[in-house]
Subunit: 303 residues, 2 copies
């Protein structure tokens, strides 16, 4: 491929992950086109397109206009608390199928989509979840629609000779995260000295800064890895340990009480991390720098 002619279209480009993918894609010499429902005030070097991909025909019109060689498809319904069982998951599944068809029909070469750890069987998640060996057995509509998008888009891509990869995101954090999620809740509790009632605290998760997740997707676009690929740090951490780290970085400690509420989700939910490194992506050595940045971001908003 002539590097000058690598044109990537990023869907969900204004989202929590998407906004961080644009710089790493530009660094990799892509001509970067971004789609969102509304155009940003400051587009920079990115060419923005205002489209609602749930509108019938929108995908084909957008692809026809941009003619991307690469498609990074991050757009999905993601409203906190509601996304797990919203019927909008089915709309996004159908929109994803329309998008990859329009893309491949018009000469698209490589599709990279955003999956989730919720595609896997959480009932059997004591060991690290493996892209090939672990069952796809989602227990939510979100996980089912994402697993469906993976299975069908991958099989379609194979049938038409389009390169395909699928990044399964585990847990992520960073500035701009919904304040009802665990890391913002812990940050608030410690920064403001507030009380937070939690589950056991012994649940193991794998947290990765959102900018690293976005780097992983950019690296996947530029690579030719063709499979599902877990996106995580490779370091399992208990929620209690996470809370302690945040308290240490904050230099203050709120009244975070473990063992008070029931746990949600499995005891262990962490990825096997053999594949992502094949893209050249490297995991951050420690989460502390990113946690500190996130603390700073919240601190200015919690006064």
């Amino acid at each position: 491929l002539d590097a000058a002619r690598r044109i990537v279209l990023v869907t969900g480009a204004s989202g929590f992950i998407g906004r961080h993918t644009l710089a790493p894609l530009l660094e990799r010499d892509f001509e970067v086109h971004a789609v969102a429902r509304e155009l940003p005030a400051n587009p920079g070097k990115v060419r923005w397109h205002a489209f609602d991909l749930l509108t019938p025909g929108a995908a084909a019109q957008l692809i026809e206009s941009v003619r991307p060689t690469h498609l990074l498809h991050l757009a999905w319904y993601a409203e906190h608390g509601k996304f797990w069982n919203s019927p909008l998951n089915l709309d996004w599944l159908s929109a994803t199928l329309a998008l990859i068809r329009a893309f491949a029909d018009r000469g698209g070469e490589r599709f990279v989509g955003a999956g989730t750890c919720a595609e896997y069987d959480w009932g059997a998640a004591e060991a690290p979840l493996d892209e090939k060996a672990s069952h796809l057995r989602p227990s939510t509509l979100y996980g089912a629609a994402k697993a469906s998008a993976f299975l069908s888009a991958q099989a379609y891509a194979v049938s038409v000779g389009c390169s395909f990869a699928w990044g399964r995101v585990f847990h992520l954090f960073g500035p701009g995260e919904d304040e009802r999620r665990i890391i913002p809740l812990l940050i608030r509790a410690h920064l403001k000295g507030e009380r937070l009632d939690c589950g056991s605290g012994t649940q193991l998760r794998d947290f990765l800064p959102v900018a690293s997740v976005a780097e992983a997707f950019a690296a996947m676009c530029a690579s030719d890895v063709s499979s599902a690929v877990n996106i995580g740090s490779g370091q399992a951490m208990s929620l209690e340990n996470l809370s302690d780290r945040i308290a240490a970085l904050a230099g203050r400690r709120g009244e975070v009480r473990f063992g008070v509420r029931n746990d949600s989700g499995p005891r262990v939910l962490i990825p096997e991390m053999k594949l992502l490194g094949q893209t050249g992506w490297q995991s951050p050595e420690s989460l502390d720098e990113s946690l500190a940045l996130t603390l700073d971001w919240w601190e200015s908003r919690l006064i």
Copy 2:
């Protein structure tokens, strides 16, 4: 439920399986509505509706008009040889999602869909495939789209409190089957004394008469089993054994040569059959009666 108010809508009602489901559904006191692209010459006690479910909005219009309590969704693209990797599989996946949404939105109580053994991992198919324990790892676009329809329609049904079941069809045969499939080919070879070059002959499959498959779907509609359910006879048979049975029933023997061509598909592809019996359905004791009927049907056409 008041039995008098059980209204079933059958999609794909004029298809290979669908046409045999109508009588067993009438026997179970359903008011039977059938949808097909064209109305039949002789509708009998069934109320037919001419709809193309791939037309946007068709599903909602049909459901609004019929107001079914039960939906038996058999319609899919099934043209021999072409269906494995046709992009129409994606259209049928999206149409299936539109259908179950329209159905549940308008008070639908129970959805039963047609799946396939191609949803499973054929690479690991030495043991009988189990609805719960076996991996969904399709190797074709057809299998992927069907597995996707299963995952997403089931999760959607659970999220809205709609009863859901999914019948995974293994191998079936009967009058009207495409003449390029194995049983019609064997029948033709033996009846006409022709040569047929085959694979090893040692591959194990589970064959069920199409009328029994249709009975299974009718029984699933009338039951409250809520999961994926394999549909098979429970009797594994080698292709060589199948050929011998057909020759015995025909009273003639063609020149069927095993070991001449490469096998397609796995060595063993048979279902675990613990669940279907819970619907009250019973497997035929022997295939011979149905094979003989099928032979008769072909004999009158091969003169």
